[in-house]
Symmetry: C3
Subunit: 267 residues, 3 copies
């Protein structure tokens, strides 16, 4: 009840303030993540040219870096944008899509973590294990690991870089230091729609823009993902319908949805 109220406050703030979330993200999820941000009430911007990312960061309230479909010019743009975001003091989300699957991705994610103060790393268990130093064994970009298996890697990553780490899975774990939130809302069918994890990262950017506590913001983003996805699954007949209803539900999310559906606890 208290958790639902806190999540709801952030949802209302996003709808009122319509924060600009600048995404440098992968080609596969640009459309669905822009739609998720718009449906929630935020204002997405997508821009990756090194000539303009600094200027675009200048009008943004959060920056989201997503390394799926990475290439060299995009890495340079991510560093440039992240430096600008750091100077302006706006929050930065890193989604290390496919870290562990290729050296390029693992190293790009680790380099970004070294170079700039990332506010939240949001990934699946394989990706967090790859970055947290444990044996990864990543298989593509979908995780074969339960999210709890990455909890120690997440704590280690969070301590090393002073960031929040948000692991998505059947239960989402959001950690920094001794604080830990667990979000059990959601539905397995969400893994059969592309861009759900990336949308979680994009929404995390929106929540960070309105909530000064990065751990709470990251957890609230997962809470909204889970509740909207869970209701959407009930209103649909497969992953095609789920993605449609997910956007409808983000747009129409009400306080009572959170009160009745949110399974979230702080440990």
């Amino acid at each position: 009840m208290k958790n639902a109220a806190a999540v709801w406050d952030d949802v209302c703030a996003i709808r009122e303030q319509s924060p600009v979330v600048h995404n440098i993200t992968n080609f596969v999820v640009m459309t669905p993540t822009a739609n998720a941000l718009l449906a929630l009430g935020a204002s997405p911007v997508m821009s990756h040219a090194i000539e303009e990312v600094e200027e675009m960061v200048g009008i943004a309230n959060a920056l989201v870096l997503n390394i799926g479909t990475l290439s060299t010019p995009w890495i340079a743009a991510m560093h440039c944008a992240a430096q600008a975001a750091s100077r302006r003091g706006i929050p930065i989300v890193l989604d290390p899509v496919g870290a562990g699957a290729t050296k390029l991705r693992t190293e790009t994610a680790l380099d970004l973590l070294q170079a700039v103060p990332i506010t939240v790393v949001r990934g699946n268990a394989s990706e967090i294990l790859a970055l947290g130093g444990a044996a990864a064994g990543a298989r593509g970009v979908d995780s074969q690991h339960g999210s709890d298996s990455a909890l120690e890697a997440a704590r280690s990553l969070a301590a090393r870089h002073g960031c929040v780490v948000s692991i998505s899975g059947a239960t989402d774990y959001i950690v920094r230091g001794e604080r830990l939130a667990k979000v059990a809302s959601g539905h397995l069918m969400m893994t059969r729609v592309t861009g759900m994890g990336c949308s979680a990262s994009a929404l995390t950017g929106a929540f960070l823009a309105v909530n000064d506590d990065p751990l709470a913001a990251a957890a609230h983003a997962m809470a909204v993902m889970g509740v909207a996805g869970e209701i959407a699954e009930k209103e649909s007949h497969g992953p095609g319908g789920l993605q449609v209803e997910f956007l409808n539900r983000l747009y129409r999310l009400r306080r009572h949805n959170l009160i009745s559906r949110l399974r979230m606890e702080w440990a």
Copy 2:
């Protein structure tokens, strides 16, 4: 009634002729704009490599340039394609996404307007203000300005470049010289779906391909966007459903939909 009949004539012509619309557009909207063109009955082509754009323009009936997610090689390809389109005499639409937000975008749009005869510039009020020389104050790629606020900038831009200017908003204004069309059909929820403005630009290309009067073609495109979007909103429960029903409605648009829904006037 007369307006509805004129719009309907163009819709029928698009369905019969299936004009090839060559898009050099942004990554976020490629899928939804291709789908919008297909649903209406046009034939989209997407191609951006400088090695092939001239050849692709050679089989196209209209060219649409959209500067969202711009980068240097794409700018060169846009110029190359626009020169080829100009030589062939096929219409060119420019969608100056995010003009005013970054120098790269503003300058790219202005350079294209200088370099080639653009047939129609279609943007939101912020973008038109940025190009028309007025104080822009753009905030990302979504407009914070009412569309009427950009009317003078649009007239100035139209006069300077001999083009039609189409401003989308709660009311759309389509201008050239003394002629002005206003389209009030549509629904606010369309702003919560990514790519609706870009789809308007793409459809403008399809209408230009079948109607020799660029001002009428640009206005008819906005009329169809507005009517299809307005009906789609009534048949859906949020922006997820709206994008689905919008495509359904473009495909199933009937003359009586235009007669009953179109709020369009010439001034």
Copy 3:
């Protein structure tokens, strides 16, 4: 009945094994093809950077090359990935989107066919005619030719390169040597949704990963496309709904759907 059982076996194998399908594909269809693979039960990976494609192929069970929205760096990455796939012995699908429309596309497709052993070429009649040496007369990326008109070109292409050729159309023809499968399931409205052909190529990759007979695998992919698309059309009111229901149906496809709907024969 026997055909339906064979298709069903492959569907079950994909759901059980969740093969990783590495796609180097075009920007327009990345989201819908990833969603089609996920809905069927496969595991899509999208990666195009030359620095990582070889490594990504190393964890893949099939490689799909799609030349829509081609550019020079992507061509190099396709060759690199195809060489790696060939060394590993995993199947390769080539979708020659727009071959015949521009030299860049025709030559890129022919170069790939020369350079590496392509397992299946999947295209529409215009594209197969362009590659098979006949007079093409391509008009954009949608075919103006009936699929049967490309049958001789397909046989010639198959013989020259030792590959299977899969032609999509009102009737799909899947050929190699003397063997020929015809799939008549499907619906014309599928041509009004972008990425349906590209999804067919992506699903062909998934079927190749679980079935050692490339001709059967390619035919089974078209069978599932056709049956899922045909049912989806009945459950929708236009191309917007069709794309949603198509994903729902891939996810919920049952044996009896194939038994009652599949119109497929071997000649």
